[in-house]
Subunit: 134 residues, 2 copies
């Protein structure tokens, strides 16, 4: 228990969370479909303060569009038992504005899964929280 | 788009999913609290076919106990754009049986965050699905 007690959990300021979100590319989106919680991995980019990812037309897009979702990014090291996590809460919405879509298409953003994933979704953060374990 | 189209997404059989769950230690649990989707990272172990993790008494435990949750584990490589993900759906429940708790306390299972996290929760899988991107 000594080692466990020595570890320190630090709440991260929003700026540090944004930096971690900027540096990462794989996150997980939590949402509800037909009353059942779901967690899906997505490749994403932080773009103008929003989480942006690509998807195809389908049940996933329908389930998240205009709903409140959770978004999580983390990193951990088993050996040293250090790590961090950032959690975003906010509304997801499909992006329709042509100018905005043009800018998003220039992002280095590959979808997690192959296929024509031409729909862009952004999560507008309402809260951003993060923790670092050192 | 050539590289994108060349990639292959393979559905994994349950046995392969269980093997990946066995080898990993950090997952994310998706649940609903006060109507809002949540995603939290947890250190876990696969134990007798169930996902087991530790937590403290609190809102998180209350929110997941006896509810249906999602649990996700993944790994990805940005350079090669390969990776996999496994998603478990099932009911979470706090473990009360003394014999069962004794066995769980012997697991090499450290909670993600420090503190007295003496409550053990298991997720009994109803479905296990996985995908590999190669």
């Amino acid at each position: 228990m000594g080692a466990l007690r020595a570890r320190r959990l630090e709440e991260l300021p929003v700026e540090a969370c944004l930096e971690l979100l900027e540096r990462s590319y794989l996150g997980r989106i939590g949402f509800v479909r037909d009353g059942v919680p779901q967690v899906f991995p997505v490749n994403y980019r932080l773009h103008e303060g929003a989480i942006v990812f690509r998807t195809d037309r389908g049940g996933f897009l329908d389930a998240v569009h205009l709903t409140h979702v959770a978004f999580e990014v983390d990193d951990a090291d088993l050996e040293t038992h250090t790590g961090w996590s950032v959690i975003v809460q906010g509304k997801a919405e499909e992006v329709w504005e042509p100018d905005e879509l043009d800018r998003m298409r220039e992002l280095p953003l590959r979808p997690w899964a192959p296929g024509d994933r031409d729909h862009y979704v952004r999560i507008l953060p309402r809260t951003i929280t993060g923790r670092r374990l050192s």
